[in-house]
């Protein structure tokens, strides 16, 4: 028999944590108004939650920036409520996936309040903030903005103590920042920190730390610092790693360090050649290329050439590799090894 009982439970299709959306163009206007509601925390929470899903559409991102949502979100970053903070950082992450969004974030100077959240007590807030910053750093002008905000020393300080998940984001951010500027990181003892991270349990962290070392050793100061800190033996230890990304980045970093005479001899004294030779036939092309570059650099030193002369045949086989880049660098390597004064 039909009864007219109204259930106390809400229907399953309504999310009580989300604000209801106004129709069409009014949606963002209303959300923006609700975001600025300083009276009711619940309103803000609901609005920011709804916004978080709403922003996944590209068109909505542009419209939201036009509506001035970014400014409202920026003030929401300092909210006392954890949910507001973490959802607003999430919104920034979504916004920063788009070019217009990144520009808007830089224009409104949101980097500073976002970086203030690095100190937040809540893990999720910190994680989202780092995700947003990482996404921002992927383009050169974003990385430039981060470097100008002097976040690099702070990030290096953070990478020592953060959770592993957040460490990955920080290492990514630093990677992009280091392409722009390496001096700050070198001054903040970046090389020591990255070297200590090479001993991490997680393969991704090892790979990213090795990649950051590679970025850091692009200038001459970085190479000298790497030799001084003893990064080379740690990198050589990673050449036999199980993860191909780790091998590739470790070989890449070694190739940069081995450019200088000092770096070459440090690598040769640490017996770099033996673990390196199997990498020349690695299934991953990046590993092959980087290993070939290390071989090329080491072959410039007379001692290295003497050792490598016995393995020319192995490298010569790569001259018929299916990847152009590998072929090219194999030819260079063979030329350098067989060079006679």
């Amino acid at each position: 028999m039909a009864t007219s009982v109204i259930s106390a439970n809400l229907p399953p299709n309504i999310d009580p944590t989300k604000a209801t959306m106004a129709y069409g163009n009014g949606a963002l206007r209303r959300l923006n108004r609700e975001l600025q509601d300083t009276e009711n925390m619940l309103t803000r929470q609901k609005a920011v939650k709804a916004l978080c899903d709403y922003l996944h559409d590209h068109e909505h991102v542009a419209a939201a920036i036009h509506e001035g949502i970014v400014v409202s979100l920026k003030s929401l970053l300092r909210d006392t409520d954890v949910t507001c903070r973490q959802l607003s950082t999430m919104c920034f992450y979504v916004i920063s996936q788009h070019s217009v969004g990144r520009e808007a974030i830089l224009d409104t100077g949101t980097i500073e309040p976002l970086s203030a959240l690095f100190e937040d007590a809540e893990d999720i807030c910190r994680r989202n903030a780092h995700m947003a910053i990482e996404m921002l750093s992927e383009v050169p002008f974003g990385a430039d903005g981060i470097v100008q905000a002097a976040l690099v020393p702070k990030l290096i300080e953070k990478v020592k103590s953060e959770h592993d998940e957040i460490k990955e984001y920080i290492l990514d951010t630093l990677h992009f920042c280091l392409i722009v500027n390496t001096q700050d990181a070198l001054k903040a003892h970046g090389m020591e920190v990255f070297t200590s991270l090479l001993a991490s349990n997680l393969a991704t962290i090892r790979a990213k730390a090795a990649r950051d070392i590679m970025d850091l050793s692009v200038p001459l100061d970085g190479k000298d610092k790497a030799v001084e800190v003893g990064t080379v033996p740690a990198l050589i230890g990673l050449l036999g790693d199980n993860a191909s990304a780790v091998r590739a980045n470790a070989a890449g970093a070694l190739s940069f360090i081995a450019v200088t005479t000092q770096g070459k001899y440090t690598a040769l004294n640490a017996d770099c050649v033996n673990p390196l030779l199997p990498l020349v036939n690695d299934p991953n092309s990046e590993v092959r290329v980087n290993a070939l570059k290390v071989v090329t650099c080491l072959a410039e030193a007379p001692e290295g050439r003497k050792i490598l002369t016995g393995h020319v045949e192995q490298i010569r086989q790569l001259e018929s590799d299916e990847i152009t880049n590998v072929r090219k660098h194999a030819e260079i390597a063979v030329r350098v090894i067989t060079w006679r004064p």
């Binding site: 996944h56 590739a248 005479t261 880049n325």
Partner: protein, 427 residues
């Protein structure tokens, strides 16, 4: 009893069970609430489900069976004691429970029904004549809600299925919207993530190329730098060698020059020294420095004395000449007067005096010659030119003779000249 009998120790390890026959007890409809309390009277079933020796559940937490079949009398006594104590405690708790106050005099409390629907209270158990073999005793189910019998009239309307509300149809659009929205949202997010992943992959591929090229570039730079340094070093070395060679050549040349220079140094030094008179004849030097000045001095004094003597002689001569001059003047005037007197006389005597005068001139010459002769005789003006010549000769001599005394000489000479001049004028 039955259970006790069952626990016969057996030689074999197989479990056997035996039980004495007994009457089926009177069964009740519901489980007796107090059955547990006097469970001793209730015979045990030979049901494996309740057999304590069959282990059920987790064997880790099993209770250990007593070692002996018969329970320990002390243990039994203790258990009874505990049970008694529990009863006493329960009783005491019941007494302590708050109760309604005692009834007033002449009244007494009775139990009445206060429920909404009254019913006869009877303790009589319904004896039904139904027999069935239940599987198991069930807990008594809760009494269903009592609904009193309906009164009044009933009206009915027949509504067939799907006539008013078809859930499937009604729910379809809503469900479609919901699913569509969810899928759209998730699709957007997945697309975004996929795009990011693609971008990252592309970026990684690019970085692979870029890093390799960067290393190559740096390697070449480094190589170039080393070559440059090497070249600079070589050039430097070469330059040093050249410098050294030049230095050596210079040294050799200097040495040769010095040797050749020094070779004729000694003779030239001696020559120059000899030229400059460092090697001299002592006798010659003595003559030059000691004798000659003395000689000059001596000559000077000699000449001085002769000059002085001549000056003196000049004075003497001048004196004499002046005297002679005055004497001649006087003589001349006397001669003139004589002649005048003669002429006056002649003029008075003859007119042919003219011829006479010519002849007379001769005698006057003769007179004059006579006078001259007189003068010469007295030692005479004719000497004066000689003296002059002597003077000049002496001066010339003095000039030739002395260098240093030339001035002194000149004074003397000047005087001598002046004297000589005077002498000539007067002549």
């Amino acid at each position: 009893m039955a259970t006790a009998l069952a626990q016969q120790p057996n030689e074999g390890n197989t479990y056997t069970f035996s039980s004495q026959p007994r009457a089926v007890p009177n069964r009740r409809k519901y489980r007796d609430q107090f059955a547990q309390q006097n469970s001793d009277e209730v015979p045990h079933h030979g049901n494996l489900m309740y057999d304590r020796r069959v282990i059920r559940g987790n064997t880790y937490s099993q209770h250990v069976l007593p070692a002996v079949a018969q329970p320990d009398p002390v243990e039994i006594q203790r258990q009874q004691e505990m049970r008694r104590r529990a009863m006493a405690r329960k009783r005491a708790r019941e007494q302590l429970r708050p109760k309604s106050p005692e009834a007033v005099e002449g009244r007494k409390h009775i139990d009445i029904q206060t429920e909404l629907y009254l019913e006869e209270l009877a303790d009589r158990i319904e004896e039904a004549d139904v027999q069935c073999q239940t599987d198991d005793f069930l807990d008594r189910p809760p009494s269903p809600l009592f609904v009193p019998a309906k009164s009044g009239e009933d009206k009915e309307t027949q509504i067939l299925d799907n006539e008013l509300f078809n859930f499937d149809i009604e729910v379809k659009p809503i469900l479609e919207v919901l699913v569509g929205k969810t899928i759209e949202q998730s699709l957007l997010e997945v697309c975004g993530e996929e795009e990011l992943a693609n971008l990252r992959a592309q970026q990684r591929a690019f970085e692979e190329l870029r890093n390799a090229e960067l290393v190559e570039q740096q390697r070449l730079e480094e190589q170039d730098r080393r070559h440059r340094e090497e070249k600079a070093r070589r050039v430097q070395q070469q330059r040093e060698v050249q410098e050294k060679e030049r230095e050596t050549a210079n040294k050799i040349a200097a040495r040769a020059f010095a040797q050749s220079y020094l070779a004729d140094l000694v003779p030239s030094v001696f020559g120059t020294l000899a030229e400059h008179g460092y090697f001299y004849d002592p006798v010659e030097r003595d003559v030059e420095s000691g004798f000659l000045p003395w000689l000059v001095d001596a000559v000077n004094t000699d000449i001085d004395s002769s000059v002085r003597a001549r000056a003196l002689l000049d004075g003497l001569l001048r004196e004499v000449i002046r005297d002679r001059h005055t004497a001649y003047r006087a003589l001349e005037t006397r001669i003139e007067q004589q002649r005048m007197a003669e002429e006056d006389r002649r003029a008075m005597v003859d007119p042919s005096a003219a011829a006479a005068s010519e002849t007379q001139s001769q005698p006057r010459d003769e007179d004059e010659n006579d006078a001259m002769a007189n003068l010469e005789a007295t030692g005479a003006p004719g000497d004066a030119p000689d003296a002059d010549a002597d003077d000049s000769a002496a001066a010339k001599e003095a000039e030739d003779a002395g260098d240093a005394d030339a001035e002194g000489e000149a004074d003397g000479e000047g005087e001598a000249d002046a004297d000589g001049g005077d002498g000539e004028d007067e002549n």
